[in-house]
């Protein structure tokens, strides 16, 4: 039983995860010619802009440059809270 519970964490430490994580960053950089620092700034600025209009619950669930239909696309997913106030007014 302990084996079952310990395994998932152990898997994250496998060498292939290093390769995958490093490649993920390198490919993002290659695809849009944007370094990790610039990506981070972009992430923060986007978050700030969206927070002006929506109640952002948490940080980005997903934020990556992926190939979609043959072209690099910035794919993001952000969790926002429902507009409780408006619902209460009704």
């Amino acid at each position: 039983m302990f084996e079952v519970m310990r395994r998932p964490n152990a898997r994250e430490n496998h060498p292939k995860h290093d390769a995958r994580r490093r490649l993920h960053d390198a490919l993002t950089q290659d695809r849009v010619d944007l370094g990790p620092e610039a990506m981070d700034t972009l992430r923060q600025e986007l978050l700030a802009v969206i927070a002006k209009y929506m109640d952002v619950a948490e940080g980005f669930q997903e934020f990556e440059v992926r190939r979609v239909e043959g072209w690099p696309a910035l794919v993001t997913s952000l969790r926002v809270r429902e507009r409780q106030q408006e619902l209460n007014l009704r």
Binding site: K16, A19, R20, L23, H24, L27, D30, G70, P72
Partner: protein, 272 residues
Amino acid sequence: MTGTTIVITSGKGGVGKTTTTANLGTALAMRGHRVVVIDTDIGLRNLDVIMGMESRVVFDLIDVVEGKCKPHQAMVRDRHRYELYLLPAAQSRDKDSLHAEQLQALCRNLENEFDYVIVDSPAGIDQGFRVAISAAREAIVVVNPEVAAIRDADKVIGLLEAAGLRRPKLIINRVNAEMVRRGDMMGQDDIVSLLSVEVLGMVPMDERLIIATNRGVPVVHDRKAPSGAAFLKIAARIDGDEVPAPALDSRSGLMDRVRSLIGTDRSAYSHV
């Protein structure tokens, strides 16, 4: 009869492009198709030695495009498969000797006679690569499960798509199933999530392939070779057959997940 021209490319050198070309060409011929494989790595001719035809090369690709001989005078016929021909690269010329228009005209011509025209691209993304992909209708990218090959493959996929070769397909070569199982090597899922392309198949690391290469006999002729079996499956997929997806995709059932977590699922990667 109208055939298809397929380019085999990779970006990074040494991942197994030429071996893949030789084996897919042979496997497609074994399936009864008329096939010609073209070595476009001008100055670094290798497909002939991989296929065991080096002693029979008389004319080459550059002689053909320069009109010094007819295509059939330069094409070397395989000893085992009469439906299979090799058009060798020139060894004493350089990359600038071959132009895109020449290769395009040649491939369109050969498509009238062959079901498959398979173009082995040189490594890199320069002139030689651009010429090699220029005549293709489809592209296959060969990759190894390691960081440098995957990064270069991503670059090449972008270049192929920009050149109008949409949806290139991937062959993952030199997979060590045991290392994948341990999490020491990236598997199909990892590579697909990074490159977002369709995988044609995985070829296991295989000593028998090295022996076959030494002998100049493509490993698809060796019935005991796991790599040969993998190339035969990939050829079937290229040919439009519904071949069951590689094992790494199929792990979806709850019990499979449990088994994989507790490490008893040793068979999951066994038939890559």
